[in-house]
């Protein structure tokens, strides 16, 4: 279990500035799909109530229908939960010294990467389309000098604010390193589990 007050490889004086997940619109999409898949068979059953009751009372078709129904409702519950887990475990953590990117892809792929703020060269915020404009969510790309140096914050809330925050933190981190007399040699470190 991850604790925000005790990050992996936490450095002295490092603290969390921002903890991000995808915008709540992603949750809305999961919830809407779940309720749609739940309500369609229920609505059909309600509309053809007598027919469905007759089928369920049938000694052979009844058990078959009951099992199919049970499997269907359990499946949409499980799939909704799997999708929620994917949403919940996709996180971006911005500290005063680095950016940590944790991505869950399905149940069996997980990527955790970190990037020193001093290595950031450019930050871009993008908002595309009607929905993203109305609900103020979009993408943030963090570019570094390294080959793998592009972090993608997917569908996060208020990308402009996040971009400005990262830019400000990068400046502060560079000033801090200069005052320490250190040469910023940051790079992307990636761990795939």
């Amino acid at each position: 279990m991850m604790r925000l007050d005790h990050l992996p490889n936490q450095r002295p004086d490092e603290h969390v500035i921002l903890f991000l997940r995808r915008h709540w619109f992603a949750l809305l999409a999961i919830g809407s799909a779940f309720f749609l898949l739940l309500s369609i068979p229920l609505a059909i059953g309600f509309y053809f109530e007598k027919t469905v009751a007759d089928w369920l009372a049938h000694p052979v078709i009844g058990p078959f229908l009951a099992i199919i129904g049970s499997i269907y409702f359990l499946s949409i519950w499980l799939v909704a939960f799997l999708e929620f887990t994917d949403y919940y475990l996709d996180t971006w953590i911005i500290t005063n010294e680095r950016i940590i990117n944790i991505e869950q892809e399905g149940l069996f792929n997980r990527t955790a990467s970190e990037l020193d703020l001093a290595a950031v060269q450019d930050t871009t915020a993008e908002i595309h389309g009607i929905l993203q404009t109305i609900f103020t969510y979009g993408q943030v790309y963090v570019q570094t000098a390294g080959e793998k140096g592009r972090f993608h914050f997917k569908n996060i809330d208020d990308p402009e604010h996040v971009k400005e925050l990262i830019t400000r933190l990068v400046e502060e981190d560079k000033r801090r390193l200069s005052s320490l007399g250190a040469v910023a040699q940051g790079k992307v470190k990636s761990v795939v589990k």
Binding site: K50, I61, L78
Partner: protein, 94 residues
């Protein structure tokens, strides 16, 4: 002359399919919960999510079990009687 034998299959064979599905459901759920506990952010929200999922699963399984318990699972299906399942009385609303 070739006669098709009158084969009887008990309807509890459906339960084997349901049992296999439940095993798959259990394994996938446990694996998912493990992921949440292992990699999720510590806090009340994490426990709430796991409780909601487990509670929903218990309700669905309990509802399914109560529905399935109402049937006589020893009843055999005769393949010769299979044609009667398409009886017009099965579609009274149509």
């Amino acid at each position: 002359m070739f006669d098709i034998p009158n084969i009887h299959i008990p309807i509890y064979v459906f339960l084997f399919v349901f049992g296999a599905y439940m095993l798959f459901y259990l394994l996938y759920s446990l694996f998912n919960i493990y992921h949440l506990v292992r990699y999720g952010v510590y806090g009340f929200g994490l426990y709430l999510i796991i409780t909601i999922f487990t509670g929903g699963t218990i309700l669905l399984v309990a509802g399914s079990t109560m529905l399935l318990m109402e049937y006589d699972w020893t009843l055999p299906i005769s393949l010769n009687d299979a044609a009667t399942f398409s009886d017009e009385t099965l579609f009274p609303a149509l």
